[in-house]
């Protein structure tokens, strides 16, 4: 057979099995979400077509942004719905097994580790994303140019002074970003730094200097949010996203 493969979204405990709201959710590639259980754990899965999700086809499909986006959004929708209702460990996008038994085997083999991951992210903990953009250095004052300097000299001097000022401004901004990160890490259970996003992807001219994720207790969420939105510094502009399912903190050391 093998014209269908099993796509897995997230793992939780057996209370998922009893939640009728989860079964039938739309999955990736027009699949319908089902629940498999084994070893005291449950996994949200759906069937996918091997012609699109088989190893070779998938490699090519992942190169196509519209396809990638569709899968990412469908994957996220399932994880998001589940994580609003239960503690679940999200799996890496495009985790695909040859069949349902493959998923069950993984649940049985990694029971303890999944349980540890569930304990770590459970209890209403959510992920918040914080990005910091460098604001442009103010170009207000005209730099001093020595008297009697020729037009060429003054041009070069102005350029040098402007460059020095930009460097200082950036260094100051990096320092503030570090302070932001330290402060937010203090009010979070865990933090993780992602690579700052490329300008071409953010669509903004300003450079991103911080791209971090924080795992925050439910009771601390409001304070955390206020800390970010209330942080005023001329060097940086902060942007908050979330709450997210704890993607950045879902880790399992595989056996």
């Amino acid at each position: 057979m093998a014209d269908e493969l099993t796509y897995a979204y997230a793992v939780g405990d057996l209370e998922l099995v009893a939640d009728a709201e989860l079964v039938g959710l739309p999955g990736v590639g027009r699949g319908i979400v089902r629940i498999l259980s084994a070893g005291g754990l449950a996994a949200l899965v759906s069937s996918v077509d091997e012609r699109a999700f088989g190893e070779e086809a998938l490699k090519q499909n992942l190169e196509r942004l519209p396809w990638l986006e569709q899968i990412a959004r469908a994957h996220h929708a399932v994880v998001e719905t589940a994580s609003r209702r239960h503690a679940v460990v999200p799996l890496r996008m495009v985790t695909i097994y040859l069949d349902d038994d493959g998923v069950r085997e993984v649940l049985e083999r990694n029971g303890t580790r999944f349980q540890e991951a569930l304990d770590r992210i459970g209890g209403g903990r959510m992920e918040w994303g914080v990005k910091a953009y460098l604001t442009p250095a103010p170009a207000d004052s005209t730099p001093d140019v020595p008297e009697g300097a020729g037009p060429g000299t003054s041009y070069l001097t102005r350029r040098r002074v402007a460059r020095d000022r930009t460097d200082e401004w950036r260094a100051a901004a990096m320092h503030v970003a570090e302070q932001v990160h330290l402060r937010l890490s203090d009010s979070a259970v865990a933090s993780r730094l992602h690579t700052p996003q490329d300008r071409r992807l953010t669509g903004r001219d300003d450079e991103m200097v911080l791209n971090a994720a924080y795992l925050v207790e439910e009771r601390d969420a409001e304070l955390f949010r206020q800390t970010v939105t209330g942080w005023v510094d001329q060097h940086l502009q902060l942007e908050l996203t979330g709450p997210w399912a704890p993607y950045s903190f879902a880790t399992v050391d595989e056996s």
């Binding site: 799996l91 950045s248 595989e254």
Partner: protein, 57 residues
């Protein structure tokens, strides 16, 4: 400030999480795609598509 509805989320923010986060499980029965390669493939897809958009502007 609150997060936008799920279809309005910036794809790049989503991919930060979906491609760098989430549990990676491999094994004999897995079509093992959930690794570092995937991140590279996808980001290349993303960036080349941005380039394409810019060129056609």
């Amino acid at each position: 400030m609150s997060v936008a509805a799920s279809d309005e989320l910036a794809l790049v923010d989503l991919l930060d999480r979906l491609l760098a986060g989430g549990v990676v499980l491999t094994g004999d029965v897995t079509i093992s795609l959930a690794g570092v390669d995937l991140v590279h493939i996808s980001l290349r897809a993303l960036i080349s598509s941005v380039d394409t958009l810019t060129e056609h502007r």
